[in-house]
Amino acid sequence: MDPEKPQKKDKKTAVLQGNEACAKAAIQAGCRFFAGYPITPSTEIIEMLSGEMQKAGGVFIQMEDEIGSACSIIGARWGGKKSMTATSGPGYTLMQEAIGFAAVTETPTVIVNVQRGGPSTGQPTMSSQQDIYQARYGSHGDYEIIVLCPSSVQEMYDFTMRAFELSEKFRTPVILLSDEVVGHMREKIIMKPLPKETIEPTQIYASSPREDFFKGANSMVEGQLHDELGRRIGHIAPKSGDFINKICSKITDNIKEIADVEAFCMEDAEVAILAYGSVARSSMNAIKLARGIKDDRVRAKFRIVKDLFVRGVPATIQTDYSHLKVGLIKVNTVWPFPEEKIQELARNVDMVIVPEMNTGKYCREVRRALWDKTVISMPKCGGEIHSPNEILDRILEEVWCK
């Protein structure tokens, strides 16, 4: 057979739920240890992996709580197995200390957070993007972390694979910040396998032991600030300061490589929508609606009929978005904040609107980066995703007011 030619086996398509795609991708990426605790809306991941992981020759364990799950995946990684856990809101809060531990000991591991509405028990079955700051600042102390935000089932699959790749390369925990909408939707996806001869990436360390356990290297995994041999330096101020700088800069110095920001219709755009996660989907549809891009998935006609019932005829007649030149900046790696990339993409627009399913958190970062532009926050709490028309209506409103 011709090795160049893509073989039938290499490309599988399937209709999967977001959570299932995440589970499949984990196994595909070489994850062989999963510890978890059931929590809505991430339970499908643990359910699927309970069998699949063992079938793939890996280890599955249902721990007594999320703290245990987060700790055991770190232990397992030092035993030499790529590891992952999946959770949601309250469980993610419990994991924070372990995430800090993984960051300080430079343990590569993947933590999936399928966001639900909070705070506290909140809205177990509804979606939100309220953990966007917790994903970045959740654990105490200063550290940098990589957070990926999928907006479709395909991205749930691809980003899970990328999360493992990034975590191994930068020796850091990576958060896959999904949400209930993406986790529970079903879509057709293409499952690409890893290239057969994967080159082990050169790993970037700050200051920690490098060898896994039981290799005769006498690795010392230490939660206190430590030197290359794992000896504590927490009581020495200058050395500790250096450690913090090193552990942060190994991520911030490589933002260009990590950052993944997509642009759609930005060439001639006057207004940009900046979105991430599931809200990026409706933002995309908003653009298609305004630009008249035909897509089966944009149910514009249905929307107009629905509008007739909901808002009456005059409202529907008014909503003509064709004069709006809207573009989309879709942020896939929300942290580390891809400041330069966003500035570059947004350089020609006057106005940026940031719809998100929280009280307008990410908008603050965007406003800081695009200080010379009009940045409008479009928060929405309650668990419902923004509709394309809602976003466009808001843009119309702002453009008129200007």
Binding site: F33, Q54, A56, G68, I74, A76, W78, A217, V221, L229
Partner: protein
């Protein structure tokens, strides 16, 4: 330096941060002697949590994980499950193991996963300066129980035995030889082993609980306040039982159970394809 110390202790990490007269050194040396007798250095990793006693393995020339407060057990479980062929030794204090890590202890014991836990019980939170721990005797005046502790102490050995741990023993720092044997036996035992060691903390527990600051006097006291159970003996009142408390080889170990099930289902361990 002692020959064994030279072999097992990282010189560059010394001095230890233990106070003069601390019992941790005795436990440390008992463990080293057990390793040497078993010749297990390369097939063993140590995991510990936070507290004075959790610093014991940090000086070892072997693979060591010094983790979060109370979470040594889940870390150790992850490590064990990813490398079922190796042995894991967990060092934990009374606060680390019974208070903040109590839930993990119950579940690890109930799984009967092959770990050996050495719970170093000094009856107090030493590192933070002498506060009440779950093992502190009722009525003791400590930094956080100025009118005497209201809580009845938790007995770690009974807890683990009841939860399903299959090897349970208790010794004191006044019994270093027996302790060494128990550690070796615990490591050899396939299943969850729990060894409690009563150690002297002359600085905090000595001052606050026992009213004597001499480590020697404290060790003598431990000898006095304990008894070794013999079949049919009358149980002395107010004394703590030491020696081997439970040794059950009939229960299957967790990783063995997993492997057996996978074999039944015709799934080979280590088989790798997406």
């Amino acid at each position: 330096m002692n020959e064994l110390y030279e072999k097992y202790i990282k010189k560059e990490s010394l001095p230890t941060l233990f106070c003069p007269g601390c019992g941790n050194g005795i436990v440390q040396f008992a463990a080293i002697k057990a390793f040497e007798k078993m010749g297990i250095k390369d097939d063993l990793a140590c995991v510990s949590g936070i507290g004075c006693s959790s610093w014991i393995p940090c000086y070892f020339k072997m693979d060591v994980m010094h983790t979060m407060h109370g979470r040594a057990l889940p870390f150790a479980e992850g490590l064990k499950l990813s490398r079922p062929d190796k042995k894991i030794l967990v060092f934990s204090g009374d606060g680390d193991c019974l208070a903040i890590g109590g839930n993990h202890l119950i579940h690890a014991a109930s799984r009967n996963i092959d770990l050996t836990v050495i719970e170093i019980n000094n009856y107090i939170y030493g590192m933070t300066g002498g506060q009440k721990s779950p093992a502190t005797p009722e009525g003791s005046v400590t930094k956080t129980s100025p009118f005497g502790s209201y809580d009845e102490p938790i007995d770690g050995c009974s807890l683990v035995a009841a939860a399903g741990g299959t090897y349970v023993a208790r010794w004191t720092t006044a019994h270093p030889v027996q302790l060494e044997k128990a550690i070796a036996e615990g490591i050899r035992h396939k299943g969850f082993s729990f060894i409690e060691v009563l150690t002297q903390c002359p600085v905090q527990a000595g001052k606050n609980i026992f009213g004597e600051k001499s480590p020697v006097a404290m060790m003598a006291r431990y000898k006095e306040m304990t008894y070794i159970y013999k079949e049919g003996m009358e149980i002395p009142e107010g004394k703590v039982r030491i020696g081997k408390i439970k040794h059950d080889t009939s229960r299957k170990e967790y990783t063995e159970k997993v492997l057996q099930k996978l074999e039944e289902k015709n799934i080979k361990k280590g088989q790798s394809n997406g």
